[in-house]
Amino acid sequence: MRFTRVVLLASSLALAAASAAAQQQRRITGRVVAEGTSEPLPATSVVVAGTGLGTRTNDAGEFSLLAPDADVQLIARRIGYKQQTVRVAREQSQVTFTLDRDVLMLEEQVVTGENTSVSRRNAANDVAVVSNVELTRAPSPTLENAMAGKVAGVTVSQNSGAPGGGLQVQLRGVTTINGSTDPLYIVDGVIVSNDAIASGANAITAAAAGGNASNQDNPVNRIADFNPADIERIEILKGASASAIYGSKASNGVIIITTKRGSAGAPQFSFLQRVGTQELSNEIGSRHWTLPGVYAYFGPKTAADTARYNALYGTGATTDYEKLLFDAHDPSYETDLSARGGTDATRYFVSGLLKRDAGIMSGTGYDKQSVRANLSQTFSSRLNVDVNTNFIHSNTRRGLTNNDNSGTSYYMVLPFTPSFARLQPVNGDYPANPFERSNPIQTRDLLQNVEEVYRFTGAANARYSVFARERQTLELNLNGGIDQFSQRNDIFSPNELLFEPQDGLPGTTVRGAAGNVNSNLNFSAVHTFTPASGFLTATTSAGVQRERRDLDDASILTRGLIPGQRAVNQGSSVSVLPNRELVKDLAFFAQEELLTLGQRLLVTGAVRADRSTNNGDINKFYYFPKASASYRMPAFRGVDEAKLRVAFGQSGLPAIYGSKFTSLQTTVYDAGTGVQTGLIAGDPNIRPERQTELEGGIDLEMFGGRSLLTVTGYQKAIRDLILLRNLAPTSGFTQQYFNGAALRNRGIEATVALTPLSTTTTTWISRATFSRNVSVITRLPVPPFETGGFGANLGAFRIEQGKSATQIVGHTLLSDGSQPTVQLGDAAPDFQMSFSNDLTWGAWRLYGLVDWKKGGDIINLTQFLYDAAGNSKDYSEDPNSPGQVRFNRWAQGFTKEYVQDGSFVKVREVSLGYTLPPSVTHVFGGRTRSARLELSGRNLLTFTPYVGLDPEVSNFGNQAIARNIDVAPYPPSRSYFLTLNVEF
């Protein structure tokens, strides 16, 4: 491996040079205060420009650091303030910084490479940053909820209302057809898992044939584990032009999460207590049945039959089973305690979380405990080491939802259960449901579906400054870490459940055990060079990365349990469903950034080379280049500064795991095992999918930094999309993986941030985002095919050249009696917007976030089920009742009836905060710095023409294409919290 050797040689030469150039050092001390108020600013980073030397200020805003024995430039940076650079002459040892507030975050640093960053002012990409403040203004069940509606081009959608997560994050449209939909998540340099491992509930629901774990189990994707309160900031690289430095894993975008760090000084504590509750926010409702209606629908033919329906109807007394099932208001709470502090040499941040989100159905909920310890140690002026560790435990209970074929999932049973049915337990006995195979009250009370996760994420990052001279610096970075979790699923469906005898084997238990270890090790070198003229700064970085991912998953399914037993060996039919995935990757990258013309022009070029065991050729490196430029234009007519930017880059999506293998299939015959060729042939030449993105935009800073407008246009062209093609059956196989299709996304994003008011007592920050994305399949070397859904009759997604990647097709009836399959809708919205306002007035703070999605169709099969059962709210014996009309038209061949508009406006987050006056905060002790009370709510209001439970829905979980299929989801809730936050 020649390239490896060159990198090694270069770095060892650099090390040698550094040893020779031992330097004298001196100490500089000083203070950092805020402009106007002269308040000391703690936790401000102060660094010697062009070196790795630096520190943070203490509570009094004071700092002390070592600097080269020469004239130096010191830079002070603090989130929320504009950075300041001060020249400190060789003989000067005292300095004071006065920082201006930066309410619109114009100057924050954004990532450009593995260990490089640049001020947002210069960035050539629209890199979105979500700060801790933005994440935690309102309580959120999981991390993804906290990102929803905050960044243009980032679509965060719930798959259901179940507690504990299960959300899809999509950046700038559809990026694959069959591949993974996950963005790459990086926490403190470690690639963390976002696997969604099915619970195995399919053993009960039979949603997928054959009893295999299926993606209709409403799984949680594991990024939900991380605690938003621990997060300092999230940077989002939305497409290949920004994410190319992450190479073959970055086609779905990259989400870089940085957790909080310690700072020198006395320990500072932050204590947060939230208490709240939640309620069902929407109901479907059901038909008001009359006795003639019962006769008309159920059509009793004999006198005995009529008598039976008369008895079932009784007095016609009704029960609202939705309300009955989803009417829990148990308390939810969150307790978060953190401390940061330390000495100049050793700094720490530690935090602990206790959280419970109760579900709106009794027996469901989400409990999480998390402990984090982040340590930073300065070993010498050259060597800094950060160690971050996080331990998480969660316990999730989500009940039995989504599609089934067994009459068990709550909203699969409710459509067929008229409101006059009497299902409430009598003396502990659950009556059989005369209309379906199960009694949902009994299922709720007796069926257990528990998921338990233990997770450890640890990262260590060492930065070594080889030399730091006036014109040149060289820093080496070594970053390594692991992300390990074990997930246990435990489903127990006892014998007495009314649906259990169906398969002749009453009593079912599923025990799933999955373990995953991600590990990675990165080594990089960053060299900066500023010639004497100061004309430019050249930052050169290069590095190598190794990654390993190992998922081992097995579940044991036992049927026919001995009554009362739940161990997997206590049944008559035992089967095991194993799956293992092991991936090893290696990558090299090199990047050059030139900042010149008085820091106005930034030009970047980079290339990354990746190889992976997922690819057909495991030794082949795939190259992903990147180039970008930005130019800041000086002030003109009310515009303080305008930045023009353009960026080009390529990134990839790994070949689908196992798609290179031509596997054999195991069979059993006469108590012996045999092997046969599998149905699907692998492609020994399979390679990553490749995205090429071109992004351009303009950023306008106006009215003295009080307004920022960002407009970005992009085109993402993705080729080598992995497909399955049909083979000649005489080849011995039916299908084969291959790289073939191409698609394109074009879109526009805009963000406006304003500070209409900004005085010492009042600040009003208002933001709006807009995004629109249009996709089209540009190349499809196989005939159009349907993906996801339940066939064209019930609405399906179809991949077809020249059409939107997310088009929904279905049957329609033409006048000549033919029933062609035609496009009926599109899951992609016309556009999305969000509006947030944050008003601080003295001690009061009012904040709100509204999310608006226009368009985007949903296949509403939950309504289809209600209609099919004659039980919709608007269904009656009148053939002109809307429910009957819908169903009859569908039966005639119009699938369109159930392809419905999913537009919505949601009030996502609202909070009203009050900072207690010092006279009151003394209650909490003399050291109290501040105390705040807050009343907040999430998903308080939804305005939508959609008649299902929630327009955010996905029966099949996270999906590249086939989201927006509504089959019996867990219903949505709104939640309210009261929060006390004390800093001391």
């Binding site: 490896t4 090893k584 012996g672 060729t677 049909n726 080849s731 196989f733």
Partner: protein, 453 residues
């Protein structure tokens, strides 16, 4: 800088270098095998004895998987049976009206070639085995070739004049030629002879065990009797191209297990069970609710007192679907674990009659026909049939009832004698298909049209 500091720096640098080396080392450990399934690469060369066993069992299971649906569909087209399954109208609209090459019409193609491919893999693999003796290799190859021929013969029976691909293709891009009927049969017959040579050189025992349904036919020498039984079928199909083929069929039957002194059920069977991963009998459904019904002509055409009818059918509740009604339920299989014959003595006796009929040895043919009438049907022998046509019709009658719901032979035989027009059509829209079309995927992969050669 003091010496200790310098040393510390050097140590740090050395550590940094080691780490850097560690980061990039491991270029050699990148191979990740298929961790979930056995891989083709794992068995394709130098297999162990156990691997040869799993390949053999895979081929047996592949043949078993294809056989159930094959018998069912051919019996429906041959008007012995209906499948009145309301969940899928195509059992009627395709099998009795229009076969869709992309739907039910394409079904008896891919599974068979998948199994042929499995046999090819076993032949290639076994040849390189160090674990097997030369005799064991020869026996294993003879076994695989026999099953390959059996699967190809099923393709030929279903597709006839549409053509049969000569072999599974080595790669998806180099497809083998589609052979016309006679050429396909000649190739199958020759393949059975190659298998015979290999079995004869195969020593006393296979290196692997065969399932219980092969009891009595599980050594190379006795398995050869099974091979010859299949050979006899192929040669009889070739009969119309030259009388020598009927002679070949008689020769092959002489080397098979045909025997009027033994049980008519003597033969080779596929077994079924309810064990995890195993298959249950696909031709069995609970008699109370079964959708599998005998065609009304099964009773209408039966001779009074035919014990085969009593053994194989009973009267149940009538079932009606798409204008077809039948109350005749099959009792051929008593449970979901009942075995299904691949070939048995009764068929061989009738094949011998068929070969003799082809050679115009009518008396010899009638001897065998009457043997079956007496011993299987419990009927009196037929005495005064004197013309070839009369003997043929009697043969077809006996074969229908002897092999009812256990072979697709009725349709194949009626076609062989040009008598498809005699099969009853229940409704005016119904047709009797002469053959299955070649699967749509195969046709598309060959550029949209196929011509046999």
């Amino acid at each position: 800088m003091t010496t200790t500091r310098r040393a510390r720096h050097l140590a740090l640098h050395a550590a940094g270098l080691l780490v850097a080396l560690g980061t990039v080392q491991g270029c050699k450990d990148t191979l990740v095998p298929d961790l979930n399934n056995p891989s083709l690469e794992g068995i394709i060369s130098n297999p162990t004895r156990a691997q040869v066993q799993t390949m053999a069992r895979g081929i047996l299971d592949g043949n078993r998987t294809a056989q159930g649906g094959f018998i069912r569909d051919l019996e429906i087209i041959g008007r012995d049976a209906y499948n009145l399954d309301a969940a899928d109208p195509r059992w009627v609209t395709e099998l009795l009206i229009n076969l869709d090459p992309g739907g039910f019409g394409g079904r008896h193609w891919g599974d068979r070639y998948r199994n042929v491919k499995g046999a090819d893999i076993m032949i290639t693999s076994v040849s390189s085995s160090g674990a097997l003796s030369a005799e064991e290799k020869s026996a294993a190859i003879g076994f695989a070739q026999t099953f390959k021929a059996l699967d190809l013969l099923a393709v030929e029976e279903a597709h006839d004049t549409a053509g049969t691909a000569a072999d599974a293709s080595a790669t998806a891009d180099e497809l083998t030629p589609i052979l016309c009927r006679d050429n396909a049969l000649l190739r199958i017959s020759a393949l059975l002879d190659t298998a015979k040579t290999n079995l004869q050189a195969g020593g006393a025992a296979f290196s692997f065990t065969l399932p219980g349904g092969f009891a009595g036919f599980d050594t190379p020498a006795t398995f050869l009797q099974f091979n010859r039984a299949i050979k006899a079928r192929a040669e009889i199909y070739l009969g119309p191209t030259g009388a020598a083929h009927f002679t070949n069929a008689l020769t092959a039957l002489g080397e098979s297990f045909v025997d009027t002194t033994k049980s008519l059920d003597l033969g080779v069977y596929h077994l079924y069970s309810l064990a995890a991963g195993d298959q249950s009998n696909p031709l069995y459904q609970d008699p109370a609710t079964t959708n599998f019904r005998a065609h009304p002509s099964v009773l209408d055409s039966a001779e009074a007192g035919d014990q085969r009818v009593a053994r194989k059918t009973t009267i149940g509740a009538p079932k009606t679907y798409q204008g077809l009604t039948s109350d005749i339920v099959f009792t051929v299989y008593s449970s979901p674990t009942a075995p299904i014959p691949i070939v048995r003595n009764e068929e061989l006796i009738l094949l011998r009659a068929q070969a003799n009929l082809g050679l115009n040895n009518l008396a010899a043919a009638m001897r065998d026909i009457n043997y079956v009438r007496v011993h299987s049907a419990g009927l009196a022998p037929k005495q005064n049939l004197t013309t070839a046509i009369q003997v043929r019709d009697q043969l077809l009658h006996e074969k229908r009832y002897s092999l009812l719901w256990e072979s697709g032979s009725r349709w194949v035989d009626m076609r062989l004698y040009g008598l498809l027009g005699n099969l009853p059509r229940d409704l005016p829209t119904h047709k009797v298909h002469p053959n299955f079309p070649i699967s749509q995927d195969e046709v598309l992969a060959r550029g949209g049209s196929v011509h046999c050669q």
